[in-house]
Each structure stands twice: as structure tokens, then as C-alpha cells.
Symmetry: C2
Subunit: 196 residues, 2 copies
Amino acid sequence: MKSLTEKTPCSGEEAEAVTAALPENDDAAKTAAGMTDREPARQTAVTEEDLAYMREALRLAQEAAEADEAPVGACIVQNGRLIAAARNRRESDKCATHHAEILAIEEACRTLGGWRLPGCTLYVTLEPCPMCGGAIVNARIPRVVFGAYDEKAGVFGSATDFNALTFNHKPAVTGGVLAEESRAILSAYFKGKRKN
Amino acid sequence: MKSLTEKTPCSGEEAEAVTAALPENDDAAKTAAGMTDREPARQTAVTEEDLAYMREALRLAQEAAEADEAPVGACIVQNGRLIAAARNRRESDKCATHHAEILAIEEACRTLGGWRLPGCTLYVTLEPCPMCGGAIVNARIPRVVFGAYDEKAGVFGSATDFNALTFNHKPAVTGGVLAEESRAILSAYFKGKRKN
């Protein structure tokens, strides 16, 4: 899972939902995608395909919740082909690195036969943590689409912005896509946890 | 390997070598450890044990170089016991995540049977990149000792400082330990690469 504080899994103020397909016009698409003033240059338009793959990531997050894991799901798409899909497995695998994005990136490397992932988009229900953001940089993933913002640990605009640093790869990033749904799954999970 | 730019694997200006065991006095130890003004609070004293494990990490880095990998080595020690050791395997495994630190952290999780690594020190020959720094945070590793600074990608004082952000764990960090040796292995490797 993301290195969330369990009390505040993500920030409501910073995330806005995208609940509909977006028009072709870039500015309108950006506005609808819930862009904040924080990252005007990095946001890309949200397509119908993006929404479909974010729904797949949400399905994987739900699978994680059912396995009693912090619900985060991720998938990777290259040229319209789904090449990797994973959910958070930190607790089941007893492994600190087994976040959804890391497992998806490793699967994509196996599928493509190399450590670079050209032409790929990574979809994930929560803004990547430093480890996963770093793996995205290391795998040279060209584009990242994420759901809920993570105020304390998110590295594409929230806790920090990796794209504003000196790292040798800067993915295009679209945040806040199906954010309400992504946040709802997390909130329900942590609410259940606090009761137990 | 670290997400190094291959032209400038690490910054000579920012790293200083520790070539001898250090005295018990904290201030003297810190000075000898090559502390910069950048991170006065986070540095811890360097012990004889630290130097021994850094030499083990250097041995692993050399192993990486011999396998034609960017030479970075890492090991993890808990209560005086070596519980994990790895070298960069990005090229051999064709996997973006297979830096020395990630592989060592995964081995340590298997050894200890959980995703938290209490009481552990991670030794690595190069300042961790964002992915590995994030994995250190996620595994709650209490202490990190590294060799050469990495100006472009290092996250404990160089490109950024994870300990100055809002992440939910902040390891104690000692940088610049056996930095000359760590940098020399990297320089020799990339010099050889440029010739080929």
C-alpha cells in the first residue's frame, strides 16, 4: 500500500472527481480533470480509454480491500494493450516493496523483456508514494494517470513534485481521475479498520 | 542501478571520503564523516562496524561491475547480524526495480517475516535514488549509511531530502562513508562504458 497515514489516507481538498468523459478541447478537459493551479503544465487530457483503465485499477483496488490490504490497484497499458495489472500485496506478501505500482512495473518489464517501458501509461487509484514514483522514473514510464491525491506521501504534486526535481525522466501526469471512487474505497477500508 | 546520469554518476564536490575509523566523540566523528552543512541534524557517528559493512557493500558493488552492471552494492544489518546483501541487477534481470537496495530490502523482509525492518541499518555505496529512498521509508528502516553522494538522483540531501518532507518515517542518515572508494568503482565502470 501507499505509505499513507492511516488517519488521513488522502486529502479531500486537493482531489476532484472526474465523473464523465472529457471533451477533445484541452483546456476544457484539463478543467474537468480537476487540475489544481499547482501543476498546470504536467496535466494531460483524460480520454475514454483512461477512464476505462482507471475502472480496471479500481476493480483491483477492490480486490485488495477484500484481501484485507489497503486498497490500491494499478495497471499498465502500451499502445492500447493491457500489459500488467496488480493490487497492493504488502500484507499478504509481508514485503515492504509490494505496492500495486511496483508489482505492475515488474510484470510489465517481464512482458516487454527490458527495464524501460516506452509508450506505456500507468494507471493507479492513488497518487504514487516516493518508492513507486521513483520506480516510474526509473522505468521511464511516459505517462501516469492517478485517482485520489495523497497529501502526506504523494510525489506528483502533494507531498512533493518529482517533476520539479533533477531526476532524469519526467512523466506526464494526470491526477484526480475517478478520484471520488478511488478515495471512497480507501475511506471505507480505513473506517472498517478503525472499528476493529 | 541508481537512476544516474551516465555522464556524472556522482558529485565530487558533495562527497568526502572517510578513510579511517572514527573517534568516539560525536563532533569529531561527524567532521571526519564528511558532513556537509546541508544535513547537520541527521548525521550519526560512523563506527568500526559501519566501515566493515560498507566494505561488504563495496565488495558487492565490485561484483556488479564484473557482471557489467552499474556498480552499486547494499547490505542490511540487524543487531550486528547481516540479514540481507545484494547488488544492482537491473540489466541482468531486465527489471527497472532491481536496484541493490530494493533487492536487499526484499530479502530482509523475507528473513524477518514482515514488511517492517526494525533495528536495521542499510548500507549502500551510493546515495539512494527516489525509488530506493521510498522503499527505505516504507520499510521503516531506522538508519541508512551510504558512500558517494548522487547530485542528480540522491534523495537524502542531494537532489532532494526526503527527511525534510511529510513522509511518515525519517531514517537517521550518514552519508559520505567510504565515499572515495564508492565513487571510484562507479567512475571506473562508466569510463570503461564510454570507451566501448
